[in-house]
């Protein structure tokens, strides 16, 4: 019965491939994803570089005890405000899938992951009055976008010793973005107009990570990732644009003072501004460098069964790379809580995370969102 329910859950997962929608994902390449499992999200992402089910650092794969597959569903309940008004929004996505595990009789662990790199999911309406044939005509424009850029990662980690491990991953950056504009007129002499396009993205990146245990309670890790650039093609047109993608570096620290408690902190920095010139040349607003900071803890009632009803708490703060106006900065911060439960001799588990996220640019643009994530992990 449990397997059946899990299958139903997986089958019912929408096929959307984005992490979360935001009005701060309208410009540039969209809203960056976090490549985290639900387990990491529950503690603000602070443990994501120590979590084999997340795709932030390839070295973290060594934490997978056996072959593990993880599926993530995220629902986003959002209130977005801009000068045109405030709207309640909601959507559901499938931001992260990962499968991986150790290769028996070796020190290697391999993993494959699908993560959201950036999301461009939005639907904006613009009522206006324009002059046509010397007469005012009311029009209603809608600009819709679905899709974004995805990150298909193939990673391997190697345990150098009982305390140290390294990892390397190759990332195929792919995906598509379906765009649709429509205009309807109040004057029935004008026919409704609709134009569509599909942007295809392709690129390649690499990442490395190192992870070490310093003493009995302290673990440190660091990672670096370079994504080169992404090529953008509109439909089948021969013209192909390019946007440089950032180099990301990060580090994290985990401290385990007792068997029941672990706390962690993480920092990631990305030079998204490397794509600024490409974006501005193409008519966009621009791109800023970003820093992401997260801190959190995990309290485990039973250290022998860490997957059973742990309490996870955390926060994160960071900058978003694509502002809505030139020179502006977008802040994002959030607090989160989560838990989980494993069963079937820890061969299957469900994790739940709830995040309250605030995003803001200047006084005019802000968002408040509840992000509810459910992760299902299976160890066949």
């Amino acid at each position: 019965m449990r397997r059946l329910l899990l299958l139903l859950l997986i089958a019912g997962t929408p096929a959307a491939g984005a992490a979360q929608s935001s009005q701060f994902g309208v410009r540039g390449l969209g809203l960056p994803g976090r490549a985290q499992s639900v387990r990491a999200m529950g503690s603000g992402g602070a443990f994501s570089m120590f979590d084999g089910q997340s795709s932030v650092s390839p070295a973290s794969l060594v934490y997978l005890p056996s072959m593990t597959a993880t599926f993530t569903v995220m629902s986003d309940y959002r209130s977005a405000t801009n000068p045109a008004g405030t709207t309640s929004l909601r959507d559901t996505h499938f931001p992260q899938f990962a499968i991986g595990g150790p290769i028996p009789h070796t020190s290697f662990t391999v993993g494959f992951s699908y993560s959201n790199y950036t999301t461009r999911d939005y639907s904006l309406v613009f009522p206006a009055t324009i002059i046509l044939r010397d007469a005012p005509v009311q029009v209603h424009d809608t600009i819709e976008s679905r899709g974004g850029i995805n990150d298909l990662g193939l990673a391997t980690a190697y345990r150098l010793s009982s305390n140290w491990a390294v990892g390397v991953a190759g990332h195929i950056i792919t995906g598509s973005n379906r765009l649709d504009i429509s205009r309807v007129f109040s004057d029935s002499n004008y026919l409704p107009a609709r134009q569509r396009a599909e942007l295809s993205f392709s690129g390649f990146g690499v990442s490395i990570g190192i992870l070490g245990q310093l003493g009995r309670t302290l673990t440190v890790t660091a990672m670096a990732r370079s994504d080169g650039h992404v090529s953008i093609q509109e439909d089948s047109l021969a013209i192909r644009g390019e946007v440089d993608l950032p180099i990301t570096v990060g580090g994290a620290l985990r401290w385990r003072p007792t068997a029941n408690l672990q706390v962690a902190g993480q920092i990631l920095a990305s030079n998204w501004s490397t794509g600024n010139e490409n974006i501005v040349t193409a008519g966009g607003v621009g791109a800023n460098n970003t820093v992401q900071v997260a801190g959190g803890l995990e309290l485990t009632p039973n250290p022998r069964r860490p997957g059973r009803t742990p309490l996870r708490l955390g926060f994160h703060w960071g900058k978003l790379p694509f502002p809505l106006t030139r020179g502006a900065e977008v802040d994002e911060y959030g607090v989160s809580a989560g838990s989980g439960y494993t069963f079937a001799a820890d061969r299957a588990g469900i994790d739940l995370a709830v995040e309250r996220v605030w995003r803001k640019q200047d006084e005019q643009y802000n968002e408040k969102a509840w992000l509810v994530s459910v992760g299902v992990s299976v160890r066949p």
Partner: protein, 399 residues
């Protein structure tokens, strides 16, 4: 796992499944330019003028003999116009079969029925019937040839049409002395030949169903066989000929564009088609503008529809029509204003090279309406033109 735990986790799974199935609501009001990558769609306008000498009138598509009505009027559609209908009924035999025997008969009464439609803007419209000679040569009918018969001496009868009713069935019953007007002498060989006129308080016209209409003219005779204790025998005769003659037959001016009339004229117009409209632009409105060279001919409340249809392929006057491309307009009566027909559904076919940028103009129902338009052409300095509003390709890849 205990039962309580199991129930709890099943509930959690159900909650997760419900999250997964949540509906999407992503639409929010936008603010430009901040939330408009690529900006908003910018409308543009372009005016296309017909290619020089590529606009012509062609006549003879639908013959008058294909029509189902007769166009009858007095002083309409123009004051100089008068048209009379001519109906020849099938011959009535000089005896009837009664009680298994052919017998001579006396006419008790007759009823003549016609289907009509008229201009409700005119008051007291009368449909008048006149007796015409049974020897009339229907192959050589002329207006002047039959006009002398439309005199009181030949008057059969009339019926006033209801002012508010655009369509009527005229039924004129003749009895007693009135039967003399439709009496058939041996020289008539049983043929009743009848003229139809339509008059009103002001110049007007009407449409009268001919022998191809749904309700063709009918000559119903109630006969009494000459025998003891006779019963009434009814004989219904249909028209074997029904046509009309007009005082004026318009002459087509090849320098102008004439559409409508009898026999029907159509106009073929070819336009240039610029590259920027060829595929990626979205046409939101296209208006064909025609400048009348003379007031549009017609009858009030009996106007025809000006149809604009694109061609499936351009073979000149015999080009096939693209059936799903159509713009139409109820042609205004007696106007000299520019005629504007919305034809976005026609020109959209021209995009992508699917159909040639050419169109046919016609007035429907062909040969069954008084409407006729004569418009300026590229040869008279008032060429047809199309005013197009369109959205150029949106810059989707602008981030």
């Amino acid at each position: 796992m205990t039962g309580a735990f199991r129930r709890r986790w099943w509930a959690a799974l159900a909650f997760a499944a419900s999250l997964a199935g949540c509906s999407e609501q992503l639409t929010q009001p936008g603010q430009c330019p901040e939330l408009c990558p690529g900006g908003l769609p910018q409308g543009e306008e372009q005016i296309l003028t017909a290619l020089p000498n590529q606009d012509s009138t062609f006549t003879g598509y639908t013959a008058r003999s294909s029509g189902t009505i007769m166009l009858v009027g007095s002083g309409a559609p123009t004051l100089a116009d008068t048209s009379y209908g001519v109906i020849v009924f099938n011959p009535r035999a000089d005896s009837v079969n009664f009680r298994d025997t052919l017998r001579a008969y006396a006419v008790d009464s007759v009823r003549i029925s016609l289907l009509t439609a008229h201009d409700t803007a005119t008051r007291h419209v009368l449909v008048q019937l006149y007796r015409l000679p049974s020897s009339l040569d229907t192959n050589a009918l002329t207006f002047d040839g039959i006009r002398p018969f439309f005199v009181p001496a030949n008057f059969i009868g009339s019926q006033q049409l209801r002012d508010t009713s655009p369509g009527d069935t005229v039924r004129i019953l003749l009895k007693g002395a009135l039967l003399n007007q439709v009496a058939l002498a041996p020289a008539d060989k049983g043929l009743l030949v009848m003229g139809v006129a339509v008059i009103g308080d002001t110049p007007t016209a009407g449409r009268v169903g001919n022998n191809r209409s749904v309700l063709p003219p009918e000559f119903l005779s109630y006969l009494k066989p000459i025998v003891a204790n006779p019963a009434t025998v009814a004989i219904t005769l249909d028209a074997k000929f029904a046509d009309y003659v007009s005082r004026q037959i318009p002459v087509i001016n090849p320098a102008l564009l004439t559409v409508g009339g009898v026999p029907s004229s159509r106009v073929l117009i070819r336009f240039p088609w610029p590259a920027r409209l060829s595929d990626s632009a979205t046409i939101v409105r296209a208006t064909l503008e025609l400048v009348p060279a003379e007031p549009v001919v017609g009858v009030r409340n009996q106007t025809g529809t000006l149809n604009v249809q694109g061609l499936a392929a351009d073979f000149g006057a015999k080009s096939p029509i693209e059936p799903s491309s159509l713009g139409s307009l109820l042609l205004p009566f007696n106007t000299t204003d520019t005629i504007r027909v919305e034809i976005a559904n026609v020109v959209r076919f021209w995009q992508g090279g699917l159909r040639p940028p050419a169109m046919f103009l016609s007035i429907v129902p062909e040969v069954e309406t008084f409407s006729r338009g004569v418009f300026g052409s590229t040869r008279t300095g008032a060429p047809p033109r199309i005013r197009i509003n369109f959205l150029p390709r949106f810059p989707f890849s602008e981030p």
